[in-house]
């Protein structure tokens, strides 16, 4: 057992912490929200300079070869500062996908722009009428000559608003498993509808109507992308777990501070035992979540896919519940001010709420975990 971070990890955490303290105050963040892109290229480039984009890319592919714990360290800080730059959608998730699905040559070519932060990728997977299904891909890829024609619709694509290149899951007619295609976001037949998410992050719905693709657009093997999709979504879940710990921890801090400063009936509201105990329960959720974020971070590097999946779903179950409890009670303990858009804590609450409903809420992961128990029985 060793719970300590390496020197590099500590350095990474510190430099990110400094960046947030200096360039990402709540006021700075408002400016970013109000900008037309909804996130900042300048910040993105600064993060790339610290090495964040290269971190999840394998060393063999020109990256830093970071593991689950490295991503955890970064994501926790991102949560603390409530960063809007699409690190999860455009770096962590596509890096995992490319690593797991790409051929050696594809990995090398695609990783370059990814690791430098110059090319933004996004994973287009969820379709209308779906909730969190991972394998139910309806988008069709028709074989046409040596290439394919892509038709269908993807929704709520994280970073889909700004990505240069889209990694799209689709079913080639006749296949039983999904394939993965690389599609230029500006290709003919691709239309995207970008929008802000509830938590001010950005995303898009993307329409593919008869998009012509060459044979080289296929990433990895035809019909064989499902394992890579599962892996990448597990990586994304682990990253969300880590992020939520940063969000929850910060939100708890803000709430406890408020309990100490807000006075009613001539004394701080935090002197009421009912509220003290609520804060304790919040803190317990944060600590259970922190433990499970660790479990998830370690699990993403586990080559045993079943063990990985179980740990990830266990983690996201606990963390979804933590997101809910900590978020709701932070608002409640703030009273009226807690339901306003101008309060920082409200934005933390919204992010927590959205983390729970991204890539499977706590009920969905509990079911996935339970199904694994059943399969083993």
């Amino acid at each position: 057992m060793d719970f300590s971070l390496t020197e590099e990890q500590i350095a990474l955490k510190d430099s990110l912490g400094k960046f947030i303290a200096r360039d990402y105050t709540f006021d700075d963040r408002w400016k970013v929200i109000r900008s037309s892109e909804g996130w900042s290229r300048a910040h993105w480039n600064q993060l790339a300079e610290i090495g964040l984009m290269a971190l999840p890319v394998a060393e063999a592919d020109g990256g830093l070869g970071g593991g689950g714990i490295d991503t955890m360290v970064v994501m926790e800080q991102i949560g603390r500062g409530l960063l809007l730059e699409p690190y999860l959608g455009c770096a962590v998730l596509p890096a995992a996908l490319i690593k797991a699905a790409g051929t050696e040559a594809q990995r090398a070519t695609l990783s370059e722009g990814l690791a430098s932060g110059e090319t933004l990728y996004a994973f287009a997977h969820t379709e209308p009428g779906q909730r969190y299904e991972r394998a139910a891909v309806a988008m069709s890829a028709q074989v046409s000559g040596a290439g394919f024609v892509l038709s269908g619709k993807k929704i709520t694509v994280l970073g889909g608003d700004c990505a240069d290149q889209l990694l799209v899951s689709a079913m080639v007619s006749g296949d039983t498993g999904a394939s993965l295609f690389l599609v230029d976001a500006k290709a003919a037949g691709v239309t995207r509808l970008a929008y802000p998410m509830q938590d001010a992050q950005r995303g898009a719905d993307i329409d593919f109507s008869g998009v012509n693709l060459g044979a080289d657009a296929l990433i990895g093997t035809r019909g064989g992308a499902q394992a890579a999709i599962d892996y990448a979504l597990d990586v994304a879940c682990a990253a969300l777990c880590a992020e939520s710990v940063g969000v929850m921890d910060e939100l708890l801090k803000q709430t406890v501070e408020y309990l100490k400063t807000r006075k009613q009936f001539g004394r701080a509201i935090g002197t009421n035992q009912a509220l003290q105990h609520r804060a304790v329960d919040m803190m317990m959720h944060v600590e259970m979540s922190r433990s499970m974020a660790l479990e998830a971070a370690v699990a993403v590097d586990n080559p045993d896919a079943a063990a990985r999946a179980k740990a990830i779903s266990g983690a996201k179950t606990i963390i979804g519940q933590g997101c809910r409890f900590v978020g709701q009670n932070a608002v409640q303990l703030h009273g009226g001010i807690g339901v306003t858009h101008e309060l920082a804590a409200s934005h933390y609450f919204k992010r927590l709420t959205m983390i729970n409903v991204t890539f499977g809420d706590s009920d969905w992961h509990l079911a996935r975990y339970g199904d694994m128990l059943l399969a083993a029985a």
């Binding site: 969820t126 209308p128 009428g129 779906q130 909730r131 969190y132 299904e133 139910a136 619709k153 929704i155 709520t156 509808l193 970008a194 929008y195 802000p196 998410m197 509830q198 995303g203 719905d205 009613q264 009936f265 001539g266 509201i269 009421n272 009912a274 509220l275 709701q328 608002v331 409640q332 009273g335 009226g336 807690g338 339901v339 306003t340 858009h341 101008e342 409200s346 609450f349 919204k350 709420t353 959205m354 409903v357 991204t358 809420d361 009920d363 509990l366 079911a367």
Partner: protein, 402 residues
């Protein structure tokens, strides 16, 4: 003992349903049913329709132009109209200030204000809370100084109210103001009626979690209010304020509205798919839906019990706090469940006329479109009307004697 409606009550239920279906503007009903935001006119049109029929003074005695309905009838009316998608009757005039004016106001105030509340001519808002006086309402600090004037005495009001719901639409505000700083804090408070058009009043919007404008700050800068607008006696406002709050708590349970949301959730759970099957087949979701539906039934029977006790001319007791707590919890559970059902559809922030909302066609026809916004918005229900913690304190002290 019988928990069913009597045949007379069933006749009444049918009468309300027929009238509502025949007279409710379908456009407004659609907005209500899909959960989009209502305009001032949407509320007022329905209000006027009911007024014409003589049904707007739901809890009012006949002497003041009310319906004279008993508690069960009021409940039936609430349930049936909510089910049809009728806009809520804004409570600040009808259910809050009106009972205060009836019980403590003078004849002139009754004659002037009550008909205008009934007709919908005057929209009221509630000026209780201040930045420093939320749960601790008795610490209100908005000052009203009495000035003698040959043309008639008046008060000069200075200070700030906040969280004023729909104050942007209001013609009048009822305020708790401080008229004395001597003695117990509760003893220096007065209940003033103020015309929102009076010079010196500024209304500033507060944007809520769902990014909508629902509450306001109201600022008073040397606002001149005639003493004729004082309700009851000076420095006795706390008594009237508490009287009003107990009325607010029974009205706040929202059983009719909850029943409508449950019904919608049934449809959603049949239509939405999870893993290729209707969501209702997902046992976790189904259990949650069943649970909240059962709790709602328990709340409904409890509400009827409390209303029945009130009928015997007893004031709503501290039991009303129970309705407020449970009602708000159920409303929150329902909005949360709708968001959970939405899954990824809970993510986008779409609003009419913005961000190409109309183009997000997979969302536009669904109950999911406003799911997250409602979830965020409804966090208010455990905070306003006296927070659920304060309600628990009331029960602790007044019911359990702890």
């Amino acid at each position: 003992m019988d928990l069913r409606y009597s045949s007379e009550q069933q006749v009444f239920e049918n009468e309300v349903r027929e009238f509502t279906l025949a007279n409710l503007d379908p456009k407004a009903a659609r907005k209500v049913l899909e959960g989009s935001r209502l305009e001032r006119e949407d509320f007022l049109t329905w209000h006027r329709t009911l007024h014409k029929k003589g049904w707007v003074g739901v809890g009012w005695p006949k002497t003041f132009g009310g319906t004279g309905w008993n508690a069960t009838q009021q409940h039936i009316f609430d349930e049936v109209t909510a089910d049809a998608g009728a806009p809520q009757l804004i409570p600040f005039g009808l259910r809050m200030v009106a009972p205060v004016i009836m019980n403590f106001g003078n004849k002139a105030q009754q004659d002037y204000h009550l008909p205008k509340i009934l007709s919908g001519e005057n929209w009221w808002c509630q000026g209780y809370s201040e930045p420093g006086a939320g749960s601790d309402l008795a610490s209100v600090n908005c000052k009203a100084e009495r000035v003698s004037d040959p043309a008639g005495d008046h008060y000069v009001v200075n200070g700030q109210k906040t969280w004023t719901t729909l104050g942007q639409h209001a013609d009048w505000i009822f305020c708790l103001v401080r008229t004395s700083s001597e003695g117990r804090r509760q003893e220096g408070i007065s209940f003033l009626l103020i015309d929102m058009k009076t010079p010196g009043i500024t209304v500033r919007p507060i944007i809520m979690l769902d990014q909508e404008h629902e509450v306001n700050e109201v600022w008073f800068d040397n606002v001149k209010v005639s003493v004729e607008n004082l309700v009851g006696e000076e420095n006795k406002g706390w008594t009237y304020a508490k009287f009003l709050l107990s009325h607010e708590r029974t009205g706040i349970a929202g059983v009719g509205r909850c029943k409508r949301i449950v019904k919608r959730l049934h449809n959603v759970a049949k239509q939405a798919k999870s893993n290729g099957k209707p969501l209702i087949e997902d046992v976790r979701f189904r259990d949650r839906l069943a649970q909240v539906e059962i709790e709602l039934r328990a709340l409904e029977i409890t509400l009827l019990r409390v209303l029945d006790a009130e009928r015997e001319k007893r004031q709503p007791g501290p039991e009303a706090s129970l309705l407020k707590i449970k009602g708000s919890e159920i409303q929150q559970a329902l909005t949360e469940l709708t968001m959970i059902a939405a899954g990824p559809a809970a993510l986008p922030y779409v609003r009419e006329g913005e961000h190409g909302a109309a183009d997000v066609e997979w969302l536009s026809s669904e109950a999911f479109r406003y799911a997250s916004g409602h979830y965020f918005n409804f966090r208010k229900t455990s905070i306003y009307g006296g927070s659920n913690e304060i309600q628990r304190n009331i029960i602790t002290q007044l019911v359990l004697g702890l």
